[in-house]
Amino acid sequence: MMPSDSPLVAFGIGIAFGVALERAGLAHAPTLAGQFYFTDFTVFKVMFSALVTAMLGAFWLSRLGVIELAAVHVPQTWLLPQVVGGLVFGLGFVVSGLCPGTGCAAAASGRLDGLSTVLGMFVGVLATGWAYPMLEPFLVRTAYGPLTLPQALGVPYGVVVCGVVVVALGAFRLVEWQERRT
């Protein structure tokens, strides 16, 4: 199957994305914040069942020759900036209770805190983008290109896929147990 960059595909995928986030309850900030106080694990459950589904789907569809995994763009690795960016992002995540995608979904559901998050995001991206030339020496450090875990660890792709599934299933059991306790 040849990938297409049709605007209709982009818009259609977006609609399905928005529906999935809203149905999951991820347009509701207190649900997301609960993740970080060990009271509500919706974020983890939704995110990891989505990750495992897409990972297994991509793995098997490429094995069956339905899709060409090499034609799918793998987000590139800039290790150090992504570690620092992740920590700053996480701080913002718990303060806002939403992330960029769920913030948009919250705003579209009429929530003004979602709208405020979206406006803040815009300012943060704009200001950091503007300062990029000054930050560039740091932001281009530790660049590894489209490096994957199987390549980095030197193990077959299927082994890492299997490992992620095992860890996810174990973690699902753990969070269900924790939710029953509280």
Binding site: M1, P3, S4, D5, P7, A10, G14, F17, G18, A20, R23, A24, G25, A33, Q35, Y37, F41, K45, V46, S49, A50, L51, A54, M55, G57, H73, P75, T77, Q82, V84, G86, V88, F89, G90, G92, V94, V95, S96, G97, L98, C99, G101, C104, S109, R111, L112, S116, T117, G120, M121, F122, G124, L126, A127, T128, P133, L135, T148, V161, F172
Partner: protein, 170 residues
């Protein structure tokens, strides 16, 4: 009739989200995203208001060499996201103009915190080249090293900061 419908089972909704992501890989050769649309919109805004600032700029320039903002894949996808979430909330009777907040925080403080959190996420997303959807989820399922590093650090940062902002949510 006017009561909001309950949310979907998280594992079912997550599997649905995973199938949407899989469809994006198969149909478009890329994953989902959100912060990239902000980057494109911000670059477009600067170009419209201060064209001199974008010429030769190492970051804005990268987002502007396409066929215009209406042709940008992520901008269209995020427009779809807004429509999809709106329709879904309407159909489930969950659309409501309001502010979601913890029990001990005022509306003004909640909106300020949401904005500050958004700013921090904007900074983090530019540093990391993506957010929870475009980097963590999309790249996580493709086993990208940077995606997993970002995802683990984002959760670590949020858990580390959570006790300090407990008043916002508990």
């Amino acid at each position: 009739m006017t009561r909001p419908a309950p949310y979907a089972n998280p594992y079912v909704a997550g599997t649905g989200l995973g199938l949407v992501l899989l469809a994006a890989y198969a149909l478009a050769g890329r994953g989902l995203g959100a912060s990239g649309a902000f980057a494109r919109t911000a670059s477009g805004a600067v170009q419209a208001l201060a064209p001199g600032q974008t010429a030769g700029h190492a970051w804005f320039g990268r987002y502007l060499d396409d066929g215009g903002i209406g042709q940008d894949w992520l901008v269209l996808e995020v427009l779809g996201l807004l429509c999809g979430a709106f329709l879904s909330a309407m159909l489930a009777r969950r659309w409501r103009l309001g502010i979601e907040r913890g029990p001990h925080v005022g509306s003004g403080a909640r909106l300020a915190a949401a904005c500050l959190g958004g700013i921090a996420m904007g900074v983090g997303a530019v540093f990391a080249r993506g957010c929870t959807s475009g980097l963590a989820l999309t790249g996580g399922a493709l086993l990208s090293v940077g995606s997993w590093a970002f995802m683990l650090c984002a959760f670590a940062g949020a858990y580390a900061c959570a006790p300090l902002v407990r008043g916002l949510w508990r």
